[in-house]
Symmetry: C2
């Protein structure tokens, strides 16, 4: 009954329903108007994401999501020859995988609002310290420069496909001290980092046709109910 | 695909996806295992809730929620002859309405875990100050004693129907200073108040068969994936 917004991505999406997360903030923005469903999978890159497509977004579904955020790349950009090389996906394959994801979503529903989000920037100093409990490394498993390469390809693909995108990599670096202000471990988001993503997603949704303030409540607001004859309000809105 | 948990109630449920809310905490507890959907309607009492039943929980739905919290009463218990008397529902009718809600949910799905939650206690002093922007009143529109009457009927009905219940009215009053610790305006919840509800709901779900730690992930954890042959893990879990 309520439209669904799906957040599809890696750990940064999975954690978006944690305290202060951008997913919960979005769910609150669309309170009583749309459901926000998290489909975030920690550690996943776009290669793994392809295995999920038909399960999460089955073709022929009668009520496909009205909007989906596609937020991968942070893991794909892990460097070869470093600690998390198994997550690495070559840049051309990353772009091709995102293209396949978008193609599938549009097959699911041609009217679905698909928003591509780039990986965030990387604070290399802190990535050296926090590599899944292993010892500090001399070289980080991700670099900010490489994340930027993936971000650029993501934005280019969005342009090519005529989709809105959020260049989180650029956006965050506009703010001085972004390393600690927005990132908790050099990669994942702080409360303020989550707020940036929330704000950017809302902006893109508003610019499209998914502006919360213009969407109807699923059921009448209590102020719109004639309490002596409440059935009337429900007949009007629910029939 | 993922089981759904529905939170059905009034403003205390609607606000549960606000910052620090018990709904978001619950969604985080069931991350990658179940979806938590909020169906909270500010200002609604059980009389209005009945109008929503067939819309939110349609009979014959092939994937009904696995669990639903029913959290009404705070508005039903508004006093006659006071500022919010239009929300008042007589105690017998309140009980009967909750009974009808439960009956409908069980018709929807006999195996659905239905949990009744009582209204929270009321801090009358602060209710006098915060009555929807109107002037301070000499008499509060709700009393703690009356909320307790509704709470007791709610718990009794749960016993009668063999359902788990959470007596929030009693539970919160076990803590000294509950008035300001748990309530933000004498009725709605603070962060700590939200934490109490989250904790109690998780306890009840765990005691039933809905323990998050025992539920499977919807898709393989990244640590369970053979990265040289990732398809294997998905074939096993998704076929």
């Amino acid at each position: 009954m309520r439209p669904q917004i799906v957040l599809f991505g890696d750990s940064i999406t999975e954690q978006s329903f944690g305290p202060g997360g951008w997913g919960t903030a979005l769910a609150n923005t669309y309170s009583r108007k749309a459901d926000v469903l998290v489909r975030g999978y920690g550690g996943y890159n776009t290669r793994l994401a392809l295995f999920l497509l038909h399960h999460i977004f089955p073709l022929g579904c009668v009520t496909p999501p009205v909007a989906t955020t596609v937020f991968f790349g942070a893991n794909d950009a892990a460097l070869l020859g470093r600690n998390n090389e198994r997550q690495h996906v070559p840049i051309e394959e990353y772009k091709e995988n995102i293209r396949r994801i978008v193609k599938h979503l549009k097959e699911c529903s041609p009217t679905m609002l698909v928003v591509l989000i780039t990986p965030p920037p990387v604070d290399e100093e802190r990535r050296k310290e926090s590599v899944y409990g292993k010892k500090t490394m001399e070289l980080p498993e991700r670099t900010n420069e490489m994340a930027g390469v993936y971000a650029m390809q993501c934005v280019e693909l969005a342009k090519e496909l005529g989709l809105p995108s959020i260049n989180l990599w650029s956006k965050m670096q506009e703010t001085e001290g972004w390393q600690k202000k927005f990132l908790s471990d050099g990669l994942h988001l702080t409360g303020k980092g989550n707020a940036v993503v929330h704000q950017e997603v809302v902006k893109v949704f508003n610019d499209a046709w998914l502006c919360a303030s213009e969407m109807p409540y699923d059921f009448p607001h209590h102020s719109a109910i004639d309490w002596r004859d409440p059935g009337k309000a429900f007949q009007q809105q629910c029939s």
